[in-house]
């Protein structure tokens, strides 16, 4: 397909106009005549308000920023006058110019040391106004084109389908601007226009011309309706989002795909006027200079050149012209983002995009995909890509434990399968139709969730076959044959989107945060090891050479400098970017101050390189000293440790001695105890003896008592007998006396 050349040309012309405006405005700023600007702006806004009342309703569905810009555009006349005023002003302060030459250079100074995105945003902020002004301008122009129908069919289509996508574009633009997940905020705007897309979809089978016209009509009618019912439909924006989503899941119609993708990625919001041309101009400029372009760029350039014929070889669109576009696109991207530069796989993305849209739009789409959706994926160490592999493996283990076990058994790492899928976003891995359908969803969602869902869906679909493989080779061959096989892409997308709803961006982010430290640690260790390997001469000899021969050390630092080359060249591009910017700013009248600036830039580049070299050398030296120190500290530690060990040994010996003493004491105590026991036993015996004696005596006592009692009884008996004898005696005596009386007195 030939590219819509005319359209491109018109874009170029507009772009250059836009840039002049930008230059003038920027100059206004640098001349620090801000008062005048304020006046001009307030004037413009006033007129805007007036114009708004006239044209407001026509464009209400468009984003605020664009509306204002359009109105600015509508009061073109006033702007022109103010522009001439500005030019006059410039002439007026021409004498001050030389002084102000310093101002930009200091700006360069500060910007040169900051990150690339900063300088990009600087550019963006300066060109923002004319850019959006231009976009509405071009839109109006396109309407004119529509009416006239004089341009080629391509351009017509480009113009006609554009308004349909306005709504989606607005939605996605804000996402591009704000970063992520602001979709819902803008859904009301997108909702209004969905019917048109739906209608546009239905007549697909018809001939293209008819189709185009229908789209056009549909668009117009629906837009008018929508404008009327704008407010009414604002509440119902959530259902519309779902509908759009399901439509995207169903596949974007192929004729609209390029446009829709641009809308999804937010090309309009990303686009910075002249930026692409500047990148290309820089390229050709350095091409002429030859020697100046730094090592990394030369490397990328060679690589791109090598990969051009290896990108979709044999595709009819990639003829010489197509390859030239592809080359320009990739070179521009490498300049745009040196932290990525050129990485294989990007050639496929760029090639695919070029088949669907004009070159510059493809550039901005690529920028959106790689800088936002796949941020950190294609950089030097591919950290995010590695992280995603770990995340995917965890998800696999969670979802398909049996399959993963089988792969483990075969000795196949999950990453061997999913790595190529993710890195190529399935390009060349699956049949084309499926790839496009996956990209539809991926670009719509604006994150990498679809990658995971699709990969999981593929595992679900092919898992049963995989489990039966007996060999790592068979498993991989099975999966590699997917690209050539035919299968139902709708089923794949459906399985991916419906079957794995639990895989959300938030979940993935959590998992990424969990796995990232491990990847970073490995990368860090590797870089460290790499460095150690590089200066593997051994510490002693290095210290020696450091003391005795500084020259050799300097030589040693060279490889390290080569590593740093990348940084330097990045800085160089940044500074040369700024260089470009300044050139365009001063294009009209400041020709004489230009060489001066150029010189300063060159000088600063040299200075920067020198400083970086110095820094590198210093770092290296510091590292050496550090290793030496560490070594010394280790030595020291060893001595201390051995001293401590000795001490501890002494203590142990002491303790053992004490233990022995204690044991002796214990033995002595035992002896004493035994003696005591014996004594006790003896006394006890004695006691027992005495007790026995006592018993015997007690027995004797009782015996005696008995005897005594017997004696007493016999005594008592004797006494009785005595008493009796006495009484008998008495009686006898009485008798005798009686008798005697009787005898004595016989009368």
């Amino acid at each position: 397909k030939p590219l819509p050349e005319e359209n491109k040309e018109s874009l170029h012309v507009e772009a250059s106009e836009g840039n002049e405006e930008a230059a003038i405005e920027a100059k206004e700023e640098t001349t620090s005549e801000k008062e005048h600007k304020v006046i001009f702006q307030s004037e413009a806004t006033q007129l805007n308000v007036e114009a708004a009342s006239e044209e407001g309703c026509r464009k209400t569905c468009q984003g605020e920023a664009i509306k204002v810009k359009e109105e600015v555009d509508s009061v073109d006349e006033s702007k022109e006058t103010s522009q001439t005023e500005a030019t006059e002003l410039e002439e007026g302060v021409a004498s001050k110019r030389i002084k102000e030459g310093d101002a930009p250079s200091t700006k360069l100074d500060s910007a040169g040391s900051t990150e690339k995105p900063d300088s990009a945003s600087l550019q963006e902020s300066k060109t923002e106004k004319p850019d959006s002004a231009h976009s509405t301008e071009s839109e109006r122009e396109k309407e004119v084109q529509l009416a006239e129908e004089t341009k080629t069919r391509k351009v017509e289509r480009w113009a006609k389908t554009r308004p349909v996508l306005c709504a989606i574009e607005n939605m996605m633009n804000s996402r591009a601007k704000k970063g992520k997940n602001m979709k819902n905020m803008n859904m009301n705007e997108s909702g209004d226009h969905l019917p048109s897309i739906k209608e546009a979809r239905s007549p697909e089978p018809e001939s293209e011309d008819e189709f185009e016209e229908k789209v056009c009509v549909n668009v117009r009618s629906s837009r008018e309706e929508n404008d009327a019912g704008n407010e009414a439909s604002q509440e119902s924006f959530f259902p519309w989002k779902e509908e759009l989503e399901s439509l995207v899941h169903g596949g974007v119609p192929k004729d609209l795909r390029g446009e829709v993708w641009q809308a999804f990625v937010g090309v309009k919001a990303r686009r910075v006027e002249r930026y692409y041309e500047d990148l290309l101009a820089q390229e050709t400029y350095e091409d002429d200079q030859q020697s100046n372009s730094s090592g990394v760029f030369r490397k990328w350039k060679r690589q791109i050149e090598k990969d051009l014929p290896r990108t979709f070889p044999g595709h009819p669109a990639l003829n010489d012209n197509g390859r030239d576009s592809l080359r320009r696109l990739l070179l521009a991207y490498a300049r745009h983002n040196p932290s990525v530069g050129y990485c294989q796989a990007m050639n496929f993305f760029a090639g695919l995009l070029l088949l669907l849209m004009p070159e510059e739009n493809a550039f901005w789409t690529l920028v959106g995909i790689i800088d936002n959706y796949f941020d950190g994926y294609y950089t030097e160490e591919m950290i995010e890509s590695q992280v995603d592999q770990l995340v995917f493996e965890e998800l696999m283990r969670e979802r398909f434990p049996k399959l993963v076990n089988h792969l483990d058994y075969l000795g196949v790492q999950v990453a061997w399968i999913s790595g190529p899928w993710f890195l190529s976003i399935f390009v060349n891995m699956l049949p084309w139709e499926s790839v496009l359908r996956i990209w539809d969803v991926l670009l719509f969602e604006g994150n990498r969730v679809m990658l995971f869902r699709t990969a999981l869906a593929l595992m679900e679909l092919y898992g049963p076959a995989l489990v039966t493989t007996k060999d790592a080779g068979d498993a991989i061959t099975l999966l590699q044959s997917l690209a050539g096989s035919t299968f139902d892409s709708s089923q794949l997308v459906l399985t991916a989107c419906m079957g794995f709803l639990a895989v959300t961006d938030a979940r993935l982010q959590d998992l990424r945060d969990k796995h990232r430290p491990a990847v970073l640690a490995i990368v860090e260790e590797r870089t460290k090891r790499g460095r150690v390997w590089k200066d593997s001469k051994g510490l002693a000899s290095k210290l020696y050479s450091f003391k005795h021969d500084r020259g050799s050390l300097l030589e040693e630092t060279k490889p390290a400098q080569e590593v740093a080359d990348g940084d330097i060249s990045n800085l160089e591009t940044r500074s040369s970017n700024l260089d470009e910017l300044l050139c365009s700013l001063n294009a009209d009248s400041e020709v004489d101050s230009l060489p001066d600036l150029q010189e300063q830039v060159d000088w600063m580049k040299v200075e920067l390189c020198r400083l970086l070299e110095e820094k590198r050398a210093a770092i290296l030296r510091a590292e050496e000293l550090e290793t030496a120190l560490v070594e010394m500290v280790k030595e020291d530690n060893r001595r201390q440790l051995s001293a401590k060990i000795e001490q501890l040994e002494q203590e142990v010996a002491d303790l053992q001695q004490a233990l022995a003493d204690k044991k002796e004491q214990e033995a002595a105590m035992l002896k004493v105890l035994m003696r005591l026991e014996q004594e006790q036993r003896i006394t006890e015996d004695a006691r027992r003896n005495t007790e026995q004696d006592a018993d015997a005596q007690r027995y004797a006592v009782t015996v005696l008592q008995e005897k005594y009692e017997k004696a007493m009884a016999s005594i008592a008996q004797m006494e009785k007998r005595v008493v009796m004898a006495e009484s008998m005696l008495e009686a006898t005596l009485q008798y005798q006396s009686g008798q005697a009386k009787a005898l004595s007195s016989p009368r």
């Binding site: 690589q303 796989a345 591919m382 590695q386 190529p420 060349n428 080779g473 090891r529």
Partner: protein, 211 residues
């Protein structure tokens, strides 16, 4: 398919030196002048016969661009042989050999057999690296060396088979513990060759005789 041994190979080297073409020439016996570049890794397999024993080669063909090294490093593990490829018409691919070797030494097992291949030797008129330099480098680093051409198929079979023969000899010498699969060698089940002596050294048929 039965085999006495299975060897895992890995093909490494700068991008565009013809790694995928070598693999394609070896597995499919054809040459594709332009084909899609490799993202991540590609895979191929073929049976060969050494010392009358069927041996299966499992070959992993990696992406060459520098950025992909962090990904391709995981493939070194468990590789018995490596084909380190450079392009004789591009000096820088030869100059990068040391860093590839360093990667291999760090991430593969120490007994991995490395074959150095100077590819594209059919383009002798554009030669930028002499055969002697290649030989010297191989000698210095203990590698086997061959110049080959994926286009004309010159020395392609030989390179793969010679590597396999070296590994085989190491097994015979008892360098490997073949029961330990981390060396990239797997002992097959149908490995005992049949009595028929009709195989030549480079036949590619599977070991069909043993079933």
């Amino acid at each position: 398919m039965s085999y006495a041994y299975l060897f895992k190979y890995i093909i490494i080297g700068d991008t565009g030196v013809g790694k995928s073409c070598l693999l394609l020439q070896f597995t499919d016996k054809r040459f594709q002048p332009v084909h899609d570049l490799t993202i991540g890794v590609e895979f191929g397999a073929r049976m060969i016969t050494i010392d009358n024993k069927p041996i299966k080669l499992q070959i992993w063909d990696t992406a060459g661009q520098e950025s992909f090294r962090s990904i391709t490093r995981s493939y070194y593990r468990g590789a018995a042989g490596a084909l380190l490829v450079y392009d004789i018409t591009r000096r820088e691919t030869f100059n990068h050999l040391a860093s590839w070797l360093e990667d291999a030494r760090q991430h593969a097992n120490a007994n991995m057999t490395i074959m150095l291949i100077g590819n594209k030797c059919d383009l002798a008129h554009r030669r930028a690296v002499t055969t002697e330099e290649g030989e010297q480098f191989a000698k210095d680093h203990g590698l086997i060396f061959m110049e080959a051409s994926a286009k004309t198929a010159q020395n392609v079979e030989e390179a793969f088979i010679k590597t396999a023969a070296t590994i085989y000899k190491k097994i015979q010498d008892g360098v490997f513990d073949v029961s330990n699969e981390s060396y990239g060698i797997k002992v097959g089940y149908g490995g005992i060759p049949g009595p028929s002596g009709g195989r030549d050294g480079s036949s590619s048929q599977g070991g069909g005789c043993c079933n």
